[in-house]
């Protein structure tokens, strides 16, 4: 039998690294549906899962794939699905069910250019607002953006840990370029990988409330058959999980759902600074675009321009505070992303009077560093 964690150095692509990260994190169920450029995640999971006692199932569509991982998650295990734009759109109603039933799971979106069928084999970052707002109603999400195959491995583990800790779906917002790029991926020894599992309830079963907030505002979660006899519904529900059609219960539930994310931002938000100490212009970027931005910083510095990079590892919840602080001392923000201005709106919202620009791309390729430099030069001229 193959080991659960393939410790060692590998030369694999981002999709495969994501699958290995999931296995290492303890994922034991994958429900999927093929779609370029995410298919390799499913293929790798189909090979790996049965060898670690897990289950792979290819469902009839992405709605079923997303729904199956919620059912499986309630048996007490860690579950995942992976898709790209068209499939991500189909999953949206079920994403809401995951959020409102506080069901931990990981959803990978290896983004391709849209709208609609778009450019199936070419990368983009056009689903960044969809992941934030794509399901109906009001809610918070956690979304991470890996910039390399190594991060596809590392951040998939982080995603599982956050989803278990906060009882919520966590999204890996990758893209075709990172998904299909092969690079060295170092997989550590199993004992050096930190994994988190959901808190299980204790105490009297008849008094248990599946949505009564505990540590960090998150309720412990029983598994089917544990004897807690929980009822789980997508209707507005009280702490017992029972539907209550009232404005008060709606408020209570929403406060809980939003609160568990909003009150723990420091624990959830991960960012990385590069040459920000003396920067006049801050590039804000994430995922594959952060690689472009990194090159742009190097080239700008060679020209004597004080440009730095704030890389968003966690894109949602958005690091508002960080942008506000930077805005006190910088001249401009340039958001580098493969869309025509999505995360840049967030940056501009938080930047106050400091001007914000978008170094965007219509999709299908990375933003050329020169496009970023051109804006930086104009700003600093």
């Amino acid at each position: 039998m193959k080991p659960q964690v393939l410790t060692g150095e590998h030369f694999i692509n981002g999709d495969e690294a994501c699958a290995e990260g999931a296995i290492a994190a303890g994922c034991r169920f994958f429900g999927g549906y093929p779609i370029t450029p995410a298919t390799e995640v499913a293929e790798q999971m189909s090979v790996r899962l049965p060898h670690v006692g897990g289950t792979f199932i290819q469902m009839e569509d992405e709605i079923a794939a997303m729904t199956s991982i919620l059912g499986a998650a309630w048996t007490g295990i860690k579950t995942m699905t992976a898709t790209s734009g068209p499939g991500f759109s189909l999953m949206m109603e079920t994403v809401g069910l995951a959020i409102v039933t506080e069901t931990p799971c990981v959803v990978v979106n290896v983004q391709r250019a849209g709208p609609s069928t778009g450019l199936p084999t070419q990368g983009a970052q056009g689903d960044m607002m969809q992941v934030r707002w794509g399901s109906h109603g009001d809610y918070e999400v956690i979304a991470l953006a890996p910039s390399s195959p190594q991060e596809m491995f590392d951040l998939t583990i982080t995603a599982f840990n956050l989803s278990e800790k906060y009882r919520t779906p966590v999204f890996i917002m990758s893209d075709e370029i990172v998904g299909h790029m092969s690079e060295k991926v170092v997989i550590p020894e199993a004992r050096k990988i930190r994994t988190v599992s959901r808190v299980k309830p204790a105490g009297r079963k008849d008094r248990f409330k599946p949505y009564q907030p505990g540590l960090l505002g998150v309720a412990p979660m029983p598994a089917i058959g544990d004897g807690y006899n929980v009822h789980v519904t997508g209707l507005t529900h009280d702490e017992k999980g029972y539907p209550v059609m009232s404005v008060d219960t709606q408020k209570e539930m929403m406060d809980r759902l939003l609160g568990k994310i909003r009150n723990n931002l420091d624990d959830i938000i991960l960012t990385e600074d590069y040459r920000l100490e003396d920067a006049d212009v801050v590039l804000v970027s994430y995922g594959v675009s952060a690689r472009t931005a990194y090159t742009a910083v190097e080239e700008a510095r060679e020209m004597g321009l004080r440009v730095g990079l704030l890389r968003l590892i966690t894109v949602w919840p958005f690091p508002e505070q960080r942008i506000r602080e930077l805005a006190k001392r910088v001249k401009a923000f340039i958001t580098v992303e493969i869309n025509m201005g999505q995360i840049s709106r967030e940056v501009e919202r938080c930047a106050g009077t400091v001007p914000g620009f978008t170094a965007g791309h219509h999709g299908g390729a990375v933003v050329p560093p020169d496009d970023v430099l051109k804006i930086a030069k104009e700003v600093l001229a």
Binding site: H51, T55, E60, A64, I224, H231, Y242
Partner: protein, 286 residues
Amino acid sequence: MKHDETAGMAHPLEDLVRMDRIPHIWCPGCGIGSVFTSCLTAVKQTNIPYNQFTMVSGIGCSGRGAGYINIDSFHTTHGRAIPFASGIKMARPDLNVIVFSGDGDLFAIGGNHFIHAARRNMDLTVICVNNLTYGMTGGQVAATTPFKARSSTTALGNPDTPFNLPLLAYASGATYVARWTMLHARDLADCIQEAILRRGFSFIEVLSPCPINYGRRNREKTLETLKKYHDNTIVKNGASPTELEVDFNKGVILGKFIDIEKPTCDEVYRRMYRPPEETTENRKSR
């Protein structure tokens, strides 16, 4: 308030009902409650501990079933009870997974999931309350509404042909197919019990009145519907699925039509995909 001791013995199904959620939402004269009672009776009759069961519903009046059974139960999204249940089943094959939902939920918005779960012989017990309409949203036309019947979106009569659900289930690969009406409470409970105790995709269609949103519009009182269920039905076990369209003028056939043994989705997956040292069957045979 002091408990009413004069009430005598507790209801025999009280331990399976979320009494703290009663009264339920179903209208007077609605048949869903009777179907639900037969389902609970079946669960009880199996003598299997309740924590080895789970119930999954979609959305609709019938879909509220999961909210009233006192076991781990899931009220999911419209049409998606089957994939949710399939996730549970594949992750925990030892659980008895019951899907309790309406005809609109299972066969219109959820039709794709139904045929694929049947094809795979997913080990689920699927109970469909067929009231010939979308009850919860006010009686619109459904995939089961009889030709020419009136609904809120077919004021001049349904121009379309309804599904023959047992035929659809059989053609898709279901290994157990039966039909009863809510009036046949005893037969229905026994049928559900049998379905729970066997392995494989079991489908049970239950005809049930929606007096408020279907009966009224089609000038049919609840008692008349029940009379039809009694007088215009024929029990014919083993009947060919092709002769099972719902036409009370010709007589509606009830009974168990299909009962085939076939390995289930989870069994085949374990056997073909899990390394041999891991499967319990192998461990036992060594």
